[in-house]
């Protein structure tokens, strides 16, 4: 076949071949550069993380022992004692906050996703309300936590005269995590295939039966993720609880008791005492809890995925 | 058009059917002609060449079945392919009549019986003319043209009746020629059946265009029976 080509044509063919070759090389080089760059960014991020955690752990873990975990803080300029009551207070606060925020948040999300559209068609007023509520949730999600704290202080602590207490802190904390729960639940509900709803309604189930029987069970993994995220948020929050929970390191006796969470304890140790090593030790415990929570999210979502896909 | 492959294949098969039709026309004309020339070698050739027509028919049938399987036609396409299947079958049977005539011709051999060559030729020419027009109508899918053709079968039938009576008369007066008279009757019968089958092709043309299957015979075998 080549014999039929003229010299001119052969030249053009050769040039084309060469240019195609160099093109491939150029593309390969630019791809390699991009890959290297991305690798470096990734490594930098990991390095910073390892540095922080490593610093806290190496400096902090020396103070951590069974005694540290089981004795109550003794106060004082040297930050004496352990962290036992702060752990318990943290657990109390998490449970109390979530028992308010979870039903409210999940309920609101169900309304937004499953019912709002339908209701909006019925009246302009409802449509307007829903729009306001949605915008509200979005704005709340972006509000700095100290604002929630000030709000809680102004409304719960002062105006409602609940004082520095688990109750004030729980209500303020609920305001803080409500947007998180609403948004993650909304996302989880939206991720439930429309075909499940159609399938259920097509069988003659009511809307409510559909939501309870099919939609919620399917959305559980997403909702659980949202709740675990909220737990993390409550555990790591300082600003809100600083102005609503007080700072007492005694074990709270009831909802009206003041208290001190782990994060708050870290803050107070660091700012009001000389026991910086204990602050780091408490921080190490906090980081460990957060890590365990993340692990729990991963494991639970894997478990649910497995259960839902039936494999 | 989304159906170009099917359409071009259909046209191709139609052309092949037209070609097969021409071969059949030539065969029946040649067979009748050799009755006149008494060229027995030629008759033998016609007899043997029927296999070519048979092979062509099988090839066409195969092509149609492949189209049915691979294109899954519906409605008019389906009717057209089903009709084609029948038409190629009809053409093959018509060719068998030419073959039959050639065979009888050889059988008559050197016998000096008087063959009504003129009438046979008239029958053959009329039948071929009908076949030719019916195939045109089939390929153009022209139901009006197709509907007019079966009536012309009467001309062939009349010639057949004429030959029939003359031959019976001849056999009565010349009983020693009974065998050959019987042969003559068979030739006439073959030509008459050949023309009858043209009607079937016309029926298919109307089926393609209207989707209706109906009997079109003008005055068929039943009326002939009254002559016996």
């Amino acid at each position: 076949m080549n014999q039929s080509l003229t010299d001119q044509e052969k030249k053009i063919l050769a040039r084309e071949k060469a240019s195609r070759k160099s093109n491939i090389q150029r593309r390969r080089i630019s791809q390699n550069i991009a890959f290297t760059f991305l690798w470096l960014i990734g490594l930098a991020a990991i390095a910073i993380l390892v540095w922080i955690i490593g610093y806290v752990f190496t400096k902090g873990l020396s103070t951590v022992n069974l005694e540290f975990l089981t004795t109550r803080p003794a106060g004082g300029f040297d930050g004496e004692g352990g962290i036992s009551t702060t752990i318990v207070t943290t657990v109390y606060l998490v449970i109390f906050t979530l028992s308010i925020a979870a039903p409210l948040g999940i309920g609101a999300a169900i309304y937004f996703v499953e019912y709002a559209n339908e209701a909006q068609n019925r009246s302009k007023f409802i449509q307007w309300l829903v729009r306001i509520a949605r915008t509200g949730v979005e704005v709340l999600a972006g509000v700095p936590s100290i604002i929630f704290g000030l709000f809680g202080f102004a409304v719960f602590v002062s105006y409602m005269k609940l004082g520095f207490s688990l109750l004030s802190a729980g209500l303020s904390g609920a305001c803080l995590v409500l947007p998180v729960i609403i948004r993650t639940t909304e996302e989880a509900l939206l991720a439930v295939p429309e075909s499940y709803r159609e399938g259920s309604l097509g069988l003659g189930a009511t809307k409510w039966q559909t939501v309870i029987g099919v939609v919620l069970p399917t959305a559980i993994p997403g909702i659980v993720t949202g709740i675990v995220l909220s737990v993390g948020r409550i555990i790591s929050e300082t600003a809100v609880f600083w102005v609503t929970l007080g700072g007492s390191y005694r074990l709270p006796q009831n909802l009206m008791s003041s208290g001190r969470t782990l994060a708050l304890h870290v803050y107070m140790l660091a700012t009001e005492t000389r026991a910086f090593d204990k602050a780091l030790g408490t921080s190490a415990i906090l980081i460990m809890i957060i890590m365990i929570l993340n692990l729990a999210i991963n494991l639970s979502s894997k478990y649910f995925q497995k259960r839902l896909s039936g494999k | 058009m989304p159906r170009e492959t099917l359409d071009s294949k259909l046209t191709q098969i139609q052309n092949e059917i037209y070609l097969l039709g021409s071969m059949v026309e030539q065969a029946i004309l040649d067979a009748t002609n050799t009755l006149k020339t008494r060229d027995l070698k030629e008759a033998k050739r016609i007899f043997e060449e029927d296999t070519v027509i048979n092979e062509k028919r099988f090839a066409l049938e195969n092509a149609i079945i492949i189209l049915l399987a691979t294109q899954q036609p519906f409605a008019r396409d389906l009717r057209l392919l089903a009709a084609m299947l029948l038409v190629v079958n009809e053409l093959e049977r018509m060719a068998d009549y030419a073959k039959g005539i050639a065979k009888i011709n050889i059988k008559i051999g050197k016998s000096d019986i008087d063959i009504p060559v003129r009438d046979f030729q008239k029958m053959a020419e009329q039948s071929v003319s009908m076949l030719h027009r019916s195939l045109s109508a089939f390929i153009e899918q022209n139901p009006n043209q197709a509907a007019a053709i079966p009536q012309e079968d009467d001309i062939v039938d009349e010639l057949y009746t004429k030959i029939y009576h003359a031959t019976i008369q001849y056999a009565i007066t010349n009983p020693s020629y009974m065998d050959q008279a019987n042969d003559i009757l068979w030739i006439a019968h073959n030509l008459e059946r050949f023309a009858d089958r043209v009607t079937n092709i016309c029926e298919r043309t109307i089926f393609i265009t209207t989707g209706e299957l109906m009997e079109m015979s003008s005055n068929d075998d039943e009326t002939d029976l009254s002559d016996f």
Binding site: N121, S195 | L78
Partner: protein
């Protein structure tokens, strides 16, 4: 009125039925009788309202905001629009385009409908589950794994599970919206075979894009087409054998022989 010369009495009747999405008219003047204990397929070009009409029969369209209808649809002699929608959907089951078993066990999938309608007795539920799965030609394949998730089944099995789930409510009509379009050919044929057996007890209406399927699997065929304003209407309705060999309308002819547009 496009009624059919059929022996069966009409199970579903549409009278001057129109459907609008907001200002857009999706279905125009649908007048049709669907005979009882038969399989009726709905074919037609995309976007001509086949599924919309199907989903009108169990009022599934009401899930979409801004849908309005005029005219009537009757199930037997009852106006479906004055009936309680839950009650209607109990009588008119539906199978969807993609198999959509719930992320529950096979047993719970099939028992879902009866449970939603208030049945609690475990023995009765077990009986219904077995019968429904048997009727859906799935029992032999899953009887040892009823606790397994419905999602662990193959696509074809999932669709048969969905059919079993619909049967468990004991409907009179089963609507199928392209039930085999997501399945492989063998699974498709299994579903078609299954439908043939179901028509003894149920009236089946099936929307399909697959003309061979409509030709193979249905007794009657309804051909939808689009007006110039994109609203859908029935151009031809008749016995499947007639529609696919000798349609009366040129548009039907063009559509089923693949020469549309």
């Amino acid at each position: 009125m496009r009624s059919l010369q059929s022996n069966g009495k009409p199970k579903i009747t549409a009278k001057n039925f129109n459907l609008f999405y907001g200002d857009f008219q999706a279905l125009k003047e649908i007048n049709v009788d669907i005979p009882e204990h038969s399989i009726t397929s709905i074919i037609g070009p995309s976007g001509c309202g086949k599924s919309t009409f199907l989903r009108s029969i169990n009022r599934m369209n009401e899930l979409i905001p801004c849908v309005k209808t005029t005219g009537k649809i009757f199930l037997d002699a009852n106006d479906i629009f004055t009936q309680d929608v839950v009650e209607l959907r109990k009588q008119v089951g539906m199978v969807f385009q993609r198999p959509n078993p719930f992320p529950k066990s096979i047993f719970d999938n099939v028992a879902y409908g009866p449970r939603a309608h208030g049945l609690k007795n475990k023995a009765v539920l077990e009986e219904i589950v077995e019968k429904s799965l048997t009727d859906a030609a799935l029992w032999d394949e899953v009887k040892d794994n009823l606790h397994k998730s419905g999602l662990a089944l193959s696509g074809g099995q999932q669709q048969r599970l969905c059919i079993a789930r619909a049967l468990a409510v004991e409907p009179q009509v089963i609507l199928m919206d392209e039930p085999a379009s997501a399945l492989d050919p063998i699974a498709t044929l299994k579903i078609e075979e299954l439908i043939q057996n179901l028509k003894k007890e149920y009236t089946i209406v099936i929307v399909t894009h697959n003309m061979q399927q409509a030709a193979r699997a249905s007794d009657h065929t309804m051909v939808f087409n689009m007006n110039p304003d994109r609203s859908g209407y029935i151009i031809e309705y008749g016995k499947t054998s007639q529609i696919f060999t000798n349609p009366h309308e040129k548009i039907t002819e063009d559509y089923i022989s693949g020469r549309f547009g």
